[in-house]
């Protein structure tokens, strides 16, 4: 039995709780992890399932995530079927009744916002369509505001002892957020009507907010990589009046956008999409700021 000793020792190390008092929160995407840091401060310990370089549609219920959900007091995800390929399995595997759907420990951000692009009909031949609308909701400042309100309330209800802290942090965050958004909107006036092509419908909310004109998506059907013929048709369609640039998220395949931008002689921009995409995008405000900077550079 001596061979078991190192294993027992390792497990004992792992069992030692990191911070017993803090609320353990599992965030599916970096944008919600960033919001949790704003609202929860030292009262929460956040584990994030994806990085800015991982496609939140495609993930596996890998062992570390099962362990994290098992220990979580709260699960914060986008919802609207963005994580349908892995989150239900993760929740079922983890044996944690507190974070099951419908419960207080299960928070889906998309439930609190107005969703765009809700399809009228659903069929798999249309690609990876989301019946509940476009789930990439975090690039509209009003959505952030609404989710922040609901999330602060949820944190306070789960961790009542620190309710006042969550509320004051939320007020502080929204004050800073609204001030920053005012600045963004003033800057963004110059971008209004800018024509862009996008790889996937990842920036629909950003376009809605800034009144950008997404004239084409490279994926003719969401989630299905564009074929050569589809790209050629797109090239023909866009040649008479090329857009200002092609935008894509860091986790999206770069090849189609490079191909198209090369043929149309327009720049291709990898927008940060979410927190952590580049070293200077450390929170939601810098995410928006950087995105605007890149679009501004494109408009000049």
């Amino acid at each position: 039995m001596r061979f078991l000793l190192p294993i027992v020792a390792l497990v004992a190390i792992q069992l030692a709780p990191s911070d017993a008092d803090a609320l353990d929160v599992f965030a599916c995407e970096p944008e919600w992890a960033a919001l949790l840091v704003e609202l929860g401060g030292p009262d929460v310990t956040v584990t994030t399932a994806t990085t800015a370089y991982q496609d939140p549609h495609m993930l596996e219920a890998r062992p570390s995530l099962i362990a994290a959900v098992r220990n979580a007091d709260l699960v914060v995800c986008t919802g609207a079927d963005l994580e349908v390929g892995w989150l239900p399995l993760l929740l079922r595997r983890a044996g944690n009744p507190g974070v099951q759907p419908g419960g207080r420990g299960n928070f889906l951000a998309a439930d609190f916002v107005r969703r765009l692009e809700i399809p009228r009909s659903i069929d798999r031949s249309q690609g990876d369509v989301h019946p509940q609308g476009n789930p990439h909701i975090h690039l509209h400042p009003r959505n952030i505001e609404r989710v922040a309100d609901a999330l602060a309330e949820r944190l306070a209800s789960i961790d009542a002892a620190n309710a006042a802290e969550y509320q004051s942090r939320q007020e502080d965050f929204l004050k800073r957020w609204n001030a920053a958004v005012l600045g963004f909107e003033t800057r963004a006036a110059a971008l209004r009507g800018m024509r862009l092509a996008s790889h996937h419908r990842s920036f629909s909310y950003l376009a809605d907010w800034l009144e950008l004109d997404i004239v084409a998506t490279l994926e003719s059907k969401p989630g299905i990589p564009p074929s050569g013929a589809q790209l050629a048709a797109l090239l023909e369609q866009l040649t008479p009046n090329p857009p200002a640039g092609v935008i894509r998220a860091p986790y999206e395949n770069e090849k189609p956008s490079l191909w198209l931008s090369d043929r149309l002689q327009i720049p291709v921009v990898q927008l940060p999409y979410t927190v952590g995409a580049t070293d200077d995008v450390t929170d939601l405000i810098s995410l928006y700021d950087k995105s605007l900077q890149m679009l501004e550079a494109l408009s000049q």
């Binding site: 990085t51 570390s64 595997r93 944690n96 107005r114 770069e254």
Partner: protein
């Protein structure tokens, strides 16, 4: 009254009656200019301030009107959401999915039994030609707030007749605390790595040799499973299963109840950002009675060690990934075989790697082998040890135009029997309807 002073000074300086030198006049002029400039900048500042206030007010008004617009839209969407929740009879239908599989095979001779092993089900490469394989229909949903239910029915053709079999029919607790879950019914055992997967999720057309030799392809439990995830940063899980059913290597009859126990443990985690792994150990002890065509009665002790390591680059945009998995099986069977005292030992293993080299394309290689040591008593029976250990080498290439469809080509060089043979496959796997996530 600096201004007045300056005017006075100016008047004085202009008066011809006063003799002033040019230096003085110059100083006064400069002072005057500076004051006019100050005045102007003062007014400009005030003007700019006013303009900024106006712009801010305009933006605020814009935001307010947009907020109002959004509020209306939100209200509309809420109304839509509420309307769509009308209580039609099918509102509570479970998630329904079906998997269609089929293959075209070109097999030299094939085999239906592995030398040295008692056959535990329909195994082997099958025959040449086209076969629709197995169609499988799956229903799953929450039963209520405490249970989740899952039913998978497999339909396949056997000698011209369609056979319907219950592959899985289980319910699982959803409300037990502290990482504990209990499953009851018919389910795929948690032993080994591959055993928990549906065949359609496999990376090769057929199961590795040890699965075919030791488990008849898959070990299915009719009984109970309890598992507990220990609170830890890694996954560290222990569990047990009790089987009252006849899933090979167990038998179900009045003398063996329950027929088999399994204990398993799984652990896994991440290494850095791009790597993840899982490893497992499992032991199944089956108390078999009159098992198989030539009856075996006695204890069957099977241990399985498994690992899987997956790599995907930090940047998901490149769409490359790699998966390496391997399992080792060891079994002792002790009892009577065909009324002769029998104590045999068998082992088997496989190692496979699957590399996704482009968004839709994967290539894989696999080596699988088994080995038996049943003693000299059984020459002429299915337990006769072959002169060489059966093994195979396989390569496969698959193309998945979407998450829901896959086309695969596989070549196997087969040395299960005393001669080598070639096996070629073309396979399709399509899933329609709701298709749940695959486990890690």
């Amino acid at each position: 009254m600096k201004f007045a002073q300056s005017v006075a000074l100016l008047a004085v300086s202009l008066s011809p009656a006063v003799a002033v030198n040019a230096q003085q006049a110059g100083d006064a002029l400069a002072e005057l200019r500076q004051e006019v400039a100050e005045l102007r900048s003062d007014y400009e500042n005030r003007l700019r301030e006013l303009e900024e206030r106006l712009a801010r007010a305009e933006t605020l008004a814009g935001v307010a009107s947009r907020d109002a617009g959004e509020a209306i839209e939100l209200a509309e969407q809420t109304a839509i959401d509420q309307n769509s929740g009308s209580s039609a009879a099918n509102t509570f239908n479970p998630a329904i999915g079906a998997v269609l599989g089929g293959s075209y095979a070109k097999v030299d001779n094939g085999w239906e039994q592995i030398p040295g092993f008692q056959s535990g089900g329909e195994i082997g490469p099958g025959g040449s030609g086209f076969s629709v394989g197995e169609a499988e229909v799956n229903l799953k949903a929450n039963v209520d707030d405490k249970f989740f239910g899952n039913l998978t029915v497999g339909i396949h053709e056997d000698e011209g007749e369609a056979e319907v079999g219950v592959e899985e029919a289980w319910l699982q607790s959803t409300r037990l605390p502290a990482g504990v879950s209990v499953t009851a019914g018919r389910f795929f055992s948690a032993t080994g790595y591959l055993n928990g997967f549906h065949f359609h999720a496999d990376d090769f057309v057929d199961r590795p040799l040890p699965y075919q030799a030791f488990l008849g392809g898959r070990y299915t439990v009719d009984g109970l499973q309890a598992r507990w995830i220990i609170p830890s940063k890694w996954l560290f899980e222990v569990g047990t299963e009790v089987n009252w059913g006849g899933g090979f290597p167990a038998t179900a009859n009045e003398r063996t109840s329950p027929g088999a126990w399994t204990f398993f443990t799984k652990t896994g985690g991440d290494i850095g950002n791009g790597h993840s792994w899982q490893a497992g150990l499992a032991h199944t002890r089956a108390d078999a009675s009159d098992r198989g065509a030539t009856a075996f009665s006695g204890m069957s002790d099977l241990s399985i060690a498994d690992f899987v390591w997956k790599w995907a680059p930090v940047s998901g945009a490149s769409a490359k990934s790699f998966k390496l998995q391997g399992e080792y099986f060891a079994r002792t069977e002790d009892g009577d075989f065909d009324d002769l005292p029998y104590n045999g030992e068998q082992a088997g293993w496989y190692l496979q790697g699957v590399y996704q080299f482009a968004r839709l394309w994967r290539v894989g290689v696999r080596h699988d082998a088994v080995d038996s040591d049943n003693g000299p008593l059984f020459i002429g029976t299915e337990l006769e040890d072959p002169d060489h250990s059966p093994y195979r080498n396989s390569v496969m290439l698959d193309w998945s135009p979407s998450e829901f469809s896959r086309l695969r080509m596989q070549y196997t060089r087969d040395r299960v029997l005393s001669y080598a043979e070639n096996q070629w496959y073309l396979q399709y796997i399509m899933s329609i309807g709701a298709h749940g996530a695959h486990q890690y």
